[in-house]
């Protein structure tokens, strides 16, 4: 039956299984020494080189976007095609240095829903 705009809508339910083509990761790069700075471009290049080290040219070609980047805290929200999540995550885990300086990626939050990344209950601090 056709719905008339303005009249109350009828009930409908749709269940989408694995609808997200992308996964989103909130990450933070930590250096052993203080004061290290990276521009957004350098940050992205670091991640691509990590992918290349582990997975070669195929890894480096994965569609990756830096959606947000904060230079002060070296933290970012990354977007990766869902099929590339495992490869990206393992590359970040195994990255140990940048230009001879020891560093590590900390993965703060991961979700196929970007909306889920707008809050992190594990960051709740009361004491």
């Amino acid at each position: 039956m056709e719905e008339l705009p303005g009249s109350p809508t009828t009930y409908e339910r749709i269940v989408y299984k694995n609808p997200s083509e992308h996964h989103y990761m909130k990450v933070c790069l930590e250096f052993q020494e203080r004061g290290v700075r990276l521009s957004a471009a350098q940050f992205k290049q670091l991640i691509i080189s990590a992918l290349k080290d582990l997975f070669g040219e195929v890894g480096a070609a994965l569609p990756l976007d830096i959606l947000t980047y904060e230079e002060k805290t070296l933290s970012a929200v990354l977007r990766i095609c869902s099929s590339g999540l495992v490869r990206l995550w393992s590359s970040l885990t195994l990255l140990g240095s940048y230009q001879g300086r020891k560093c590590a990626f900390r993965v703060i939050q991961v979700s196929p829903f970007l909306l889920a990344l707008s809050g992190n209950s594990r960051e709740l601090m009361l004491d």
Binding site: T9, Y16, K17, V77, S111, L115
Partner: protein, 318 residues
């Protein structure tokens, strides 16, 4: 080939989109809101709104407090006094603070009086209580879930089940946790959590409130009866959910070419990633993200959309 397949594996996730009207007799909005316990964040998005109305401002700012108690022995939550003072006289909720559901022992109290314990194998065996293996534990069961119905238990304090639970928490395996607590009394009750737990380190907290004004935000056109959207006409519920993610994460995507009037508002509620349940008593686990959230889109004719999103370690939302 198997390795390549594993490298490309995507954890299962679900997005349920529903539409209905608040006036429909069978609308489940109240039930779905009331059975998603332990929520961490609530966000409103109100398009075309420069200043909040007084009514809405006071609604948002007048929040009941929540409480933080340190080192609370678990037996306190099954004492008849606690059950009679709080559990039976309103909606009492609790969740262990700073416990990761995928690593630590976690306890939650639901407003219906059910106490849910998510315990590692050793702790579970040491408590001597009857439970069941976690659904998300993997091939080798390392996690167990114990459910204690406090309403049921309090009917007969001399029963074997009550004595066993009491003995377990007081003597056999005295467990203590830092708890987050909330209580919404049904009557005009004088009891307070602060005085009841005055022997422990209890603090009262107010939810943090923040207001942001987003200028030049181009909002999607939605038509309440078009849940799947229509090209060039209106966005789908799924597209809107993605767009909301970009807005709340402050990501600048160019979604739309022309600014449109948007006679709808959205209300998003995010659950605690480490709650042992999501919707009713469905078991919830963290896996890679622990997300369980829902979003209402409310239209001016009382039509609404409801999007519910969960990750791999969750049942399909009801």
């Amino acid at each position: 080939m198997a390795t390549l397949r594993r490298l490309q594996e995507v954890p299962r996730h679900l997005l349920v989109c529903e539409k209905s009207n608040f006036g429909h007799d069978k609308s489940r909005h109240q039930h779905l809101v009331e059975t998603q316990y332990h929520n961490y964040k609530v966000s409103f998005l109100i398009p075309e709104c420069g200043i909040l109305s007084k009514k809405l401002k006071s609604l948002v700012m007048e929040n009941a407090p929540f409480y933080f108690v340190k080192n609370l022995p678990l037996y306190e939550l099954i004492s008849s006094e606690f059950i009679n003072t709080f559990v039976k006289k309103g909606a009492c909720c609790a969740l262990t603070y700073n416990t990761s559901i995928d690593e630590d022992n976690t306890v939650a109290l639901l407003p219906n009086g059910k106490l849910i314990l998510s315990l590692d194998k050793d702790t579970y065996e040491e408590t001597g209580l009857q439970g069941r293996p976690s659904r998300y534990s993997g091939r080798k069961v390392m996690k167990f879930i114990v459910t204690i119905d406090l309403m049921d238990l309090s009917l007969n304090l001399d029963s074997k089940s009550y004595k066993r639970a009491w003995w377990s928490f007081k003597e056999k395996k005295p467990l203590k946790f830092d708890f987050l607590l909330a209580w919404y009394p049904t009557g005009a009750d004088e009891s307070t959590m602060m005085s009841y737990f005055s022997n422990y380190q209890i603090q009262e907290h107010q939810p943090k409130l923040s207001l942001n004004l987003l200028t030049d935000l181009q909002c999607p056109v939605l038509q309440s009866h078009l849940l799947r959207g229509e090209p060039e006409v209106a966005c789908s519920a799924q597209e809107l959910f993605d767009w909301l993610g970009a807005v709340f994460s402050h990501v600048n995507f160019h979604y739309f070419d022309e600014p449109k009037l948007a006679p709808w508002i959205s209300l998003c509620v995010q659950g605690f990633a480490d709650s042992p349940v999501s919707w009713r008593e469905n078991e919830h686990d963290f896996l890679k993200g622990g997300e369980h959230l829902y979003n209402f889109v409310i239209f001016n004719n009382r039509d609404y959309w409801l999007q519910m999103a969960v990750g791999a370690s969750d049942d399909c939302p009801p």
